[in-house]
Symmetry: C2
Subunit: 338 residues, 2 copies
Amino acid sequence: MSKINLKDLAKKLNISVSSVSKALRDSHEIAEETKKKVRALALELGYSPNPYAGFLRNQKSKTIALIAPELTNNFFIQAISGAETIAQEHDYHILVYTTNDDFEKEKSITSHLMNGRVDGVIISLASSTSSYNHLTDLIEAGIPIVFFDRICHEIETAKITTNDFASGFMATEHLINNGSKKIAYLSISENLSIDNKRKQGYFEALNKHDIKIDERLVTKCSNDENKNINSIKQLLTGPYKPDAIFASIEKLALLTYTVCNEIGIKIPQDLKVISFSNLRTAALLNPSLTTITQPAFEMGKIAATILFKYLAKRRSVIINENIILKSELTIRDSTRKY
Amino acid sequence: MSKINLKDLAKKLNISVSSVSKALRDSHEIAEETKKKVRALALELGYSPNPYAGFLRNQKSKTIALIAPELTNNFFIQAISGAETIAQEHDYHILVYTTNDDFEKEKSITSHLMNGRVDGVIISLASSTSSYNHLTDLIEAGIPIVFFDRICHEIETAKITTNDFASGFMATEHLINNGSKKIAYLSISENLSIDNKRKQGYFEALNKHDIKIDERLVTKCSNDENKNINSIKQLLTGPYKPDAIFASIEKLALLTYTVCNEIGIKIPQDLKVISFSNLRTAALLNPSLTTITQPAFEMGKIAATILFKYLAKRRSVIINENIILKSELTIRDSTRKY
DNA sequence: AAATTTTACGATATCGTTTTCGTTATTTTT
DNA sequence: AAAAATAACGAAAACGATATCGTAAAATTT
């Protein structure tokens, strides 16, 4: 049962290929009776159009790329799921790529997409991404981009984020209200707008409560897990030991837990921990983790919806737009007052 | 900077399209000097071949589909990552689809893939999948399939699994050795081979240790989270309350934790819990969860490697092969002797 | 020097669709 | 009844890349 094409159908029906094509696309140029015959045979033989022929002809691939830093993170998975939901509604397919937070890999992926393999791109930047030519190139090649979470302000397009400043503020204030005085911030990357906003919110809360900002409590983490473990260990055993940690991303909070287990620091007695996180098991951790949870699924849905809106119009320039959703603070044991 | 094609290059160089094509593919028919000129111009203008034209011509899309029941599960994510790693090496792209464990959705996805959109498929079946025509159709249409984890014995192809019988046995014996006498098994689906094998291993261990099999301790769970919560709650509050639970999949173990928290059952004092799981946070849970961890990343890599081996040979019939990897038992607090 | 091979390239068909433009009949309008 | 419009279809040109033929000139062999 090798694949059947329009020519096969045409031959069997003794009509032309073009008529078959039109019949299947329900053109008014074809008589109703002929259409019926065509449709019947197509169904019987299980005809299904070759997608790539159509893509070539129409210059549209009904495919988008979704580029995320990693997959082993529920936030991105939920966002992808959200985007996939919308994609299915629009009969689009999603190619998933991961950068492993590596700028070079990100550039390599985008350059592979320059050739029209996808109609559009949804991306959350790698933490090491420090310039944006690979992205402007893509847009200039006619491939629209929508950002989510790890966005890039420098590029004019739609960007879906959460209220990171307010959330950073809220998280920090929550720690302060529960008695913390020396709050450390675990930063993931100075390149990322979201990290900066979260940090600014953290500073602002400290200011409001007349706590002096101590830059030594801002720990710069990276993409290297072992280095991060060392940084956190040093922070927690060094002279500027904090009484609370605000982790900008989930991975750093989990490392904090691991380090605390290892060196015998008790959460929340000795150290309170709060983190941005979409972890399903936050409530089951020891102790349960107080989180700021982003509406990841919704973010993915919105990103895809906006992209498809422009693709339908065949416009590659997306109007600049900042869509900001609200994150939610869920208070659990890791920040309990003692 | 609209897209540039072979014709554009040919015009600028005053040679034919076919020569340009051959030059770029490093054909011996083209003089070295000409090749250099062509390559230089291609580089300068950022030429990148239209993938779909090549797909149409070659009847190969350099794309495979990966179908998984869900993405919010570290096992599948790791498997996907493994497959992606291999795909990148082979210059292949991966289309990711999720069935949400829904048989109908799985059928819908496979039927969409019948038209040559992908060259091959890697799949882990939905738990509700009860017949396999949609899969044999795919193979008959010339699209090879490789299974991983949730496989289908009825179809002749390559299947990557883990030693589920042995692992089920080991898990159960571990519970017995730590003093459990009434061990419940949380089953995810009777359709799934892996579930049956895990259960058989469970039975075998009970037999070995002269513990009578009690079918009332085998709890059939489903795809409905609320129903599962109720089932587990009934199990734990009913007349046949077990002193240990062996969860066939991670999701059920987490629900068990949640239910125990809610109704005040203490793990491991009142109930020991062991589960198949690739959860990163297993060690950080309260209590830390004893797990049987499958080599998911490796499974994905192997599945992709086998598939690409056949795709390179342009063979759509994959020789039947059962590749069985070993899972690993990691003992933690949830099964501690008391 | 004639015959043969090699080199380096071009013309063209092909992959499977879609779409524009003809081209007949047939129907409607004047 | 002549003119115009419409209905229903077919031929053919794209879309962009590739591979199979040719073919002319140059190089080699006899």
